[in-house]
């Protein structure tokens, strides 16, 4: 690797400080004794303690997690299947389908949110009963997650040599076996990364959830509703925990990756 110039070093430092200083500040203030967000008065773990007793925040977190995992799993499965279909289409149809799937991504979220809500209201009056809640949230989240899966998996499929699949068939696999033994392992990295993207988008989402949630409350909605009074420092504590968990997951995955790469190298 070439040695970095002073300018590049400064640029890198500024870049990373913009990204991470806010998080550092938040972590520091999650240990702040007073509720203030500007003056640090002393160290305490009280916000962590009260976080685990605050049922409203915890249940909102629970709902967000269930929703994220549920929608990510479903979206990944449907999206992967869709990509396989799209990949074997003719060029013009493929172009059309890809462009249609782009729409929800380019569309402002608020439009997706409002239109989904209108749809659900119509469905509610048509079928009667209470449909708003977890079910509508799930549908909404799967909907906005789907395109991301398609855009992640399709290029990977394109990269893959079709002849590998054909060879598997030649060597005696039936199509199902060929898919699970050859195609799926080949596109697995893209599938996993789109699953993770779905997870983050779903936990993140405020606008669409807001319109589709009914009487259920996800974590971003719970945090947003605190703004008349003052966002509780328990949220800092919760965000810190989430940040640490995500960071350690990433580190673990990277460590495992580099380990297996080393193994490959030594084998070669």
């Amino acid at each position: 690797m070439k040695k970095m110039s002073v300018f590049s070093k400064i640029y890198l430092a500024v870049f990373f400080s913009f990204m991470y200083i806010p998080i550092a500040v938040m972590i520091v203030f999650s240990f702040n004794e007073s509720k203030s967000r500007s003056v640090f008065t002393g160290f305490t773990l009280d916000w962590y303690k009260s976080l685990f007793r605050n049922e409203m925040i915890l249940s909102a977190l629970g709902i967000s997690l269930v929703l994220a995992f549920g929608s990510a799993i479903v979206a990944t499965v449907i999206g992967t299947l869709a990509s396989i279909g799209i990949n074997s289409m003719r060029k013009t149809t493929r172009g059309i389908i890809m462009n249609i799937s782009y729409m929800p991504v380019i569309n402002p979220e608020i439009i997706t949110g409002v239109s989904l809500m209108l749809l659900f209201v119509v469905a509610k009056t048509a079928m009667g009963g209470k449909i708003f809640g977890m079910s509508t949230l799930l549908i909404a989240h799967i909907t906005f997650n789907l395109p991301y899966v398609i855009f992640n998996v399709t290029p990977k499929l394109k990269q893959m040599d079709v002849k590998m699949y054909e060879a598997a068939l030649d060597l005696g696999c039936n199509p199902r076996q060929a898919f699970f033994k050859v195609v799926l392992p080949e596109i697995m990295p893209a599938v996993v990364s789109s699953f993770l993207i779905c997870l983050t988008y779903s936990i993140d989402d405020f606008i669409i959830s807001y319109f589709a949630s009914g009487t259920v409350q996800t974590l971003p909605i719970a945090i947003y509703s605190m703004t008349r009074k003052k966002v509780s420092p328990e949220i800092n504590a919760l965000s810190t925990i989430m940040f640490v968990v995500i960071l350690s997951v990433i580190l673990l995955i990277n460590a495992k990756d580099s380990q297996s790469q080393k193994k490959k190298k030594t084998r070669a």
Binding site: S36, S50, G214, T215, S225, K230, V231
Partner: protein, 399 residues
């Protein structure tokens, strides 16, 4: 003698009662829904109930344990977002806690159910001065939950002399040190009171006048904020800010240099009250919840947690001396005399107010309005350039 003894016994029992809110004194039958699998959807302001932090009572949990009713407790940030959610039909709630003018609006539009006060006997413990106000003059739809006034929070180390008028928020001496409400209704109310007008404007002319006053104030305003006020004021980043009395108490606790004044021109007097939206499927259980919220111990716990004044007269008696006699929490009769409640405004007035508010916010003294077209032109130029380059490259590749 006997009464003195009784008082002694009662005061000795008090800590026990508040420790276990389940042992409520009244003979109200709270257990009649036990085992029926009832779920109540309660929609309240964020952080607007005693939630068990800092050793306070966890009101929702206590209610669930006492009655066996499950409470799905969710929160909102403004009256308008709550209204939009219910109006759109996107959610069915059983108990909501809007502010005065929103109750009036929802009642007018037939969105609220009439309460059956036989199920809310604790209504009698709500002070008479909080009942039958303009937004619900026939006492049909609402049970007051909290109330308060708007005033000026100021930093005594940064502000000279006595604060007694809204004029100080327009004082150029504090340029860059003044915060202002970031919602049209509250901001208009302050400017209207400064001008000696009603905070319920009745004509386009009045709205224009008020908006002009706000425009005049804009150059000295540091920022239009809501909850950021807490940090900015306690951190000493600003000298003056209008806000709700109950929150002022919280700020003063964090920073003793702060003080609160109710301007002499009069101010807004607000009430947040509990209502049941039409279409609630558990109306009786919802009324039980409202009644529970009016239990003395519960009202006391909520009042102490939120910091806003409670309309429940028995709870006021149990408040610590310094709170019960605080001129911020419980202002004198003369001060209250000079206040006004928000009323429902006709649709066209509301629209005009919103329009005036956004044009005021968008208005720039320096005239930097040219920036947006220039930015758009640059964006278009960049797009054209990139398309052109792509074409050139494509042509080159074709060779």
């Amino acid at each position: 003698m006997i009464s003195a003894l009784l008082a002694l016994v009662l005061t000795a029992m008090l800590p026990m009662v508040s420790a276990a809110a389940a042992e409520t004194k009244s003979d109200y039958n709270y257990t009649r829904f036990k085992g029926a699998g009832v779920t109540l959807n309660v929609y309240n302001w964020g952080l607007y109930i005693s939630d068990g932090s800092d050793g306070a009572a966890d009101v929702v949990k206590d209610f669930e344990e006492l009655t066996g009713i499950k409470v799905n407790y969710t929160t909102y940030d403004t009256n308008e977002s709550m209204y939009a959610k219910i109006k759109s039909g996107g959610a069915d709630y059983d108990v909501i806690i809007p502010s005065d003018y929103m109750i009036g609006k929802m009642a007018q539009e037939g969105m609220l159910a009439e309460l059956n006060f036989d199920n809310i006997p604790n209504y009698k413990m709500i002070g008479d001065q909080y009942k039958g106000l303009a937004y619900d003059s026939d006492e049909k739809y609402s049970v007051p939950y909290t109330w308060g006034v708007v005033g000026v929070v100021y930093n005594t180390t940064m502000v000279d002399g006595e604060v007694d008028s809204w004029d100080i928020l327009w004082d150029a001496a504090y340029s860059g040190n003044v915060l202002m409400f970031n919602n049209s209704r509250d901001a208009f109310a302050i400017a209207a009171k400064k001008l000696g007008l009603s905070l319920n404007p009745s004509s386009q002319k009045e709205i224009d006048e008020i908006a002009a006053e706000l425009k005049k104030q804009k150059p000295i305003v540091q920022a239009y904020v809501m909850d950021e006020i807490f940090d900015k004021m306690t951190g000493g980043e600003a000298a003056l800010a209008p806000y709700y009395a109950g929150d002022a108490i919280t700020m003063i606790e964090d920073n003793p240099d702060l003080a609160f004044a109710i301007p002499k021109e009069g101010t807004n007097y607000f009430v947040d009250a509990m209502c049941i939206p039409k279409g609630s499927t558990n109306k009786e259980a919802a009324e039980m919840f409202i009644n529970y919220m009016c239990e003395t111990e519960v009202a006391l716990a909520n009042c102490e947690f939120i910091g806003y004044s409670t309309p429940q007269v028995e709870a006021v008696k149990l408040l610590p001396e310094e709170l019960a006699n605080s001129p911020i929490m419980y202002p004198s009769e003369e001060v209250l005399e000079n206040t006004e409640v928000f009323e429902v405004l006709p649709e066209e007035i509301n629209t005009a107010m919103d329009a005036a508010w956004s044009s005021m916010k968008a208005h720039e003294e320096g005239g930097s309005g040219w920036i947006i077209p220039v930015l758009m032109l640059i964006a278009v130029a960049v797009i054209i350039l990139s398309i052109w380059r792509k074409n050139v490259r494509k042509k080159r590749d074709d060779y």
